[in-house]
């Protein structure tokens, strides 16, 4: 069947005005893309992550023992009501190096009693290692032979662990606690989604069998128990109570439990890290929506303004308001459809890339990627409804225009009422005439101008704000990292006399100084009977190696007794505490009271919250005066290799002389987890800045060119009364620049509160307090340049075209 003439007109008009259609379609597509990408990422990552996490049967409770235990204890725990399953594991923190390399790296080896009977926190063989499939073919046998290591895949993904180019069956040299070396091939890769990945731990992660454990000279005993439970309600609070009961019961049997941890059911331990990211992305996605809406309103109303005469003719020959409204809304609907064709696949792709990117940090392997119906519906709604809503007013206003208004609009523009602002502008004196014309033209269509300005202002403010978030983030990170004024941290098995350690350490070349800290795990008991582990570090009040930046209160000073400095991580977990409060912690079975004197700036990275106390008082409480369990070392060189080599040398030496090392980690590795989080944030922030810059540029270019196109007739008149090509260009470029710079200026004003709010948002997620705010002056300058260049370009091209038309062409244009 043939199409009716009015719909033919709609389609032909779309085709004839392809360029403008492109602007409209892109405007809508941006909104769909932004909202779609964010929603898609959020939904997929939360749903799929939860699904994957559930499939590994995650432990509800993890008990970490100070003493080794046997299967008998596991079996007895298993029989306790509420416990559905229990499994013991053993973990060792050792050092390793690859063939032909002299650099030692930390590795956590977990020994499993039976590879074929893993029921909790399941690991599975990596069947396809996508970054390098040929180097790691699927292992032939399962379980792997004894005296081999299975590496957790994320160990290979961190550039700083020397394993990026490792291959299957490559020999790894492992150093045992006594200093002995063992060579073991890396039999294959496994995927362990239940634990923090190597990228965040800063150590490689591997698995060995119990036979291998034996071969390494360790007893076949466990030090960690993984427990699943079916208690109802199945939430963290009730699991905590159970964990506390289990701990109590086990300790009564004569064991010591270092910490008992109850997990949030169904929630991956890393997922809390992504909350501020999701919030940030959500806000930016939502902001893209009005931006896109304004762009659509502008484009459509400019379009409708040009259509007014044709609308008049159609009404004159019998077209009713309703028929005409439907025609133009139909046109807008087509914009929407076209934009969906562009935006849905792009958003799909972007969501896929972003999700993969974020997943790689959480060691989350995306099992399937699909377009959830909810996201598709959201995209359809945004893509079809937003433009229809945005277009409704301009379309209705135009369709309602009477034939007389439409056809007999003689002259160049409708005369409106002059307000105070108009009169002010009319009184502008002493400026060159073309500039005066530019200024008056700019303000002639106030509604249009307001919308244009609003759109561009929002884009300016967002761009500058995002860059400000970026600079604030950098500043905060610098401040936080300044704390670590040392090059490595060595944790000893037991407290040793500082004097002895010092003597031994200074024998190692490259060691400049050494400071001994005390360490203990305390616990805070909540009224409902649950318990949280808190790490307390005893630092010398006059420590030379830490540079704390305080968000509140003060740092430890000499003479402090029970003063405690807490971290944002502490405040996040132990809600309700603030500076000036007392906190009771159980330390070595005794209740001790601490007075919170300050909050030090640090990144919330999950795990056991850390607090700081004065060394002299702390060691007195622990009866460990002049002893230290943690050593922080300053070196003569601070690069990564030196930090790693000297740390290893120290660790080797200590082991040799009988000082047992539990872990020895260079500072760069310590900061790795923080760095990873920052990398994700910075990458996302920059991606957003680029997206907003693209939207802003698109809007600016589109609006400016429409502005010029609309005034083709006016250009003809100016030509007719003798304006030169150059004079016309000057007037229009002046106008473009005026709008551009005004939007920049208003954007600048808006960017102050906006950037502060965004920084606070990110800061609250990251460090539990606002970021160290730093306004991005360079961001403001960059955007000014973008605005100036785009305003000129966007005006120049259409103005050039228009100025080239002959007077006759323009004036006869009907």
């Amino acid at each position: 069947m043939k199409m009716s003439p009015r719909w033919l007109k709609v389609f032909r008009d779309l085709w004839v005005n392809r360029k403008r259609v492109m602007w409209a379609v892109l405007s809508v597509a941006i909104g769909v893309f932004a909202v779609g990408t964010v929603a898609h990422m959020y939904l997929i990552s939360s749903v799929e992550m939860a699904k994957s996490y559930a499939s590994i049967a995650p432990a509800d409770i993890v008990l970490s023992f100070s003493d080794p235990f046997d299967q008998d204890l596991v079996d007895s725990i298993h029989r306790i009501p509420g416990v559905t399953d229990a499994e013991g594991r053993r973990s060792l923190i050792l050092s390793f190096k690859t063939q032909g390399s002299d650099t030692w790296y930390p590795i956590v080896l977990t020994a499993l009693p039976d590879y074929n009977d893993i029921r909790i926190n399941k690991i599975r063989p990596e069947t396809y290692y996508s970054p390098n499939p040929t180097a790691w073919p699927k292992p032939d046998v399962w379980p792997p032979p004894d005296h081999t290591i299975l590496l957790e895949r994320s160990s290979l993904l961190t550039a700083n662990l020397g394993l990026t180019s490792a291959k299957q069956n490559e020999l790894l040299t492992i150093e045992l606690p006594g200093g002995k070396l063992r060579e073991m091939p890396a039999a294959g890769l496994v995927y362990d989604f239940g634990s923090a990945p190597a990228t965040f731990q800063g150590t490689a992660v591997g698995f060995i069998s119990f036979a291998t454990l034996d071969w390494l000279g360790e007893t076949r005993q466990f030090d960690t128990m993984y427990i699943t439970s079916d208690i109802q309600p199945h939430d963290q609070q009730h699991l905590s109570v159970l964990a506390y009961q289990l701990k109590d019961r086990i300790e009564r049997a004569g064991y010591t439990i270092a910490y008992a941890q109850a997990n949030k059911p169904g929630e991956h331990p890393m997922s809390s890290l992504f909350t501020p990211l999701s919030a940030f992305l959500g806000i930016l996605g939502l902001m893209a929506l009005p931006l896109s809406g304004f762009l659509v309103i502008n484009t459509i109303s400019a379009w409708m303004a040009q259509e007014v005469r044709q609308i008049g003719v159609m009404k004159a020959i019998g077209g009713r308001t309703f028929q005409i409204t439907i025609m133009y809304l139909g046109m807008v609907f087509i914009f929407g459809l076209l934009s969906l064709i562009i935006a849905i696949p792009l958003a799909y792709l972007a969501a896929y890339r972003f999700t993969l990117f974020m997943a790689s940090f959480a060691n989350f392997q995306l099992q399937s990627f699909y377009l959830p119906t909810g996201v598709l519906l959201l995209e359809l709604t945004v893509g079809l409804l937003v433009p229809l809503l945005a277009a409704l007013y301009p379309v209705l206003a135009m369709a309602r225009t009477t034939v007389r208004e439409a056809i007999s609009t003689y002259g160049l523009s409708r005369s409106g009422r002059r307000d105070l602002f108009d009169r002010m502008i009319e009184h502008l004196q002493g400026l060159p005439r073309p500039l005066l014309l530019s200024i008056r033209n700019t303000f002639r269509r106030k509604l249009r101008m307001t919308l244009t300005l609003l759109t561009l202002t929002l884009a300016s403010a967002l761009f500058i704000s995002i860059l400000s978030v970026w600079t604030s983030l950098n500043r905060t990170v610098q401040e936080v990292f300044k704390f670590y004024g040392f090059d490595s941290q060595i944790v000893l098995k037991y407290p040793y006399r500082i004097e002895r350690i010092n003597q031994e350490a200074l024998n190692i070349p490259g060691v400049a100084a050494l400071e001994g800290w005390g360490e203990a795990i305390g616990s805070i008991t909540h009224p409902q009977g649950t318990e949280d582990q808190i790490s307390i570090l005893g630092l010398p009040a006059d420590s030379k190696v830490v540079n704390p930046i305080m968000t509140e209160g003060r740092w430890i000073v000499p003479g402090d007794e029970n003063a405690l400095v807490v971290t944002p991580g502490f405040l996040q977990k132990e809600t309700g505490y603030q500076v000036g409060d007392d906190v009771v912690m159980k330390l070595q079975g005794k209740d001790t009271t601490w007075h919170i004197v300050g909050v030090v700036k640090a990144i919330v990275a999950g795990g056991t919250p850390v607090t700081y106390a004065n060394y002299s008082y702390f060691t007195r409480v622990l009866n460990d005066v002049d002893r230290a369990q943690i050593l922080v070392v300053t070196m003569t060189r601070h690069d990564k290799t030196s930090q790693s080599q000297i740390t290893q040398a120290l660790s080797d030496h200590f082991n040799k002389v009988g000082i047992q090392v539990s872990s020895a980690i260079p500072t760069w590795s310590l900061l790795e987890s923080n760095n990873n989080l920052i990398t994700i944030l910075v990458t996302l922030v920059m991606a957003m800045a680029i997206l907003i810059a693209a939207v802003g540029s698109l809007g600016l270019t589109g609006l400016m060119s429409i502005n010029v196109l609309e005034r083709t007739r006016e250009i003809g008149v100016m030509r007719a009364i003798g304006a030169s090509h150059a004079a016309i260009l000057q007037i229009f470029i002046g106008e473009g620049l005026l709008i551009g710079i005004m939007s920049w200026f208003f954007g600048l004003l808006l960017s102050f509160p906006l950037s502060k709010a965004l920084s606070n948002l990110i800061g609250n997620g990251l460090i539990q307090s606002p970021l160290s705010y730093s306004y991005s002056i360079s961001g403001a300058i960059i955007w000014l340049l973008v605005v100036v260049i785009l305003s000129i370009l966007a005006t120049l091209m259409p103005a050039q075209d228009a100025a080239r038309l002959t007077v006759r062409d323009v004036l006869a244009y009907e």
Partner: protein, 384 residues
Amino acid sequence: MARPNEQNQMVMEKPDAYQNGNKAFIELRKVVKIYKSAAGDYLALNDINIEVDAGEFVAVIGKSGSGKSTLINMITGIDRPTSGEVLVGDTAVNKLSEDAMAKWRGRNLGIVFQFFQLLPTLSVVENIMLPMDFCNLYSLKEREERAMSLLKMVDLEDQANKLPAALSGGQQQRVAIARALANDPPMVIADEPTGNLDSKMADAVFSLFENLVSQGKTVVMVTHDSSLAKQASRTILLADGEVVNEYVARALPTLTPQQMIKVTHSLEPMTFQPGSSILQEGSTSDKFYIISQGQVEVALKRPNAPDIVVALFSPGQYFGEIELMRGGKTVATIKAAPETPVQLLALEREPFFELLSESEETKKTIDQTAQLRLQENVSSRESS
């Protein structure tokens, strides 16, 4: 659904009165249009009363700004009067809602614009089909057939699939006329349809209008072109938003439109029964008369014989000028012709001389007429 030609037939039957009491097909009653603007109120139409019968071809003329376009906008419903009534057929146009108006317009009138106003992205034939599409009057199949036959009528069927831009101005205007006829409306309203065309093209377009009138359509056309206007069956002259009395315009064509309006305002209508006497030879007379209806006889007295009728004056002619300009008694007897009553428009002595003082050319023309008529009187007397 009522077929359009059935509707037309209803219109063509010329009932005694239409639904709203109007006797003429198009009737404007006391129409006033005031535009409000920042510069103050502007009176575009002042107390307009017009009647146009079905099948008439009326040309509306007047200078730029005289209110021509406003006037036809009243008829098309494109604009509404500030006060007064616009009745077209059975419809009170000024009372229609905007939507009802669009619907009414689509079915009852075709509009032709000076700048053609074809939609640039639709082909010629699609432009003609568009009104049918909006009004849903013909079946889809019929629409194209009808559009083609209209194109054939304007002799452009070979251009059917071209876009308007590919056609000359004259061709575009013919397409616009074809489009105006798309729904077979009983009347066509044209606003300066030839204003943008050269004289050859203008003639071709004009003959199309004449053709429409011969088919029984009512055509109202605004034009600048007085030679074209003369070819219409009737002319309405507008000046300063008022209709110039057409008999004044015919009687005193050398006056400016403004002077004509002034005269129109000073006229006093008079009616005489058939055969009744208007002026008696030898009596005194101090009025200038313009005939607006019927005929008058000019008779001279003869001694011992009945008066002799020497001339017959028709609407648009005047008398009484000799007595006013030369003074003295009436030089002939004037009476209503025996067949029909006579309507006269009388101008008193004072405004008459004021008029002559303002228009030298009119004075000269009337003087010449007077002289000519006196000579004729003399020769008539002599010959009798």
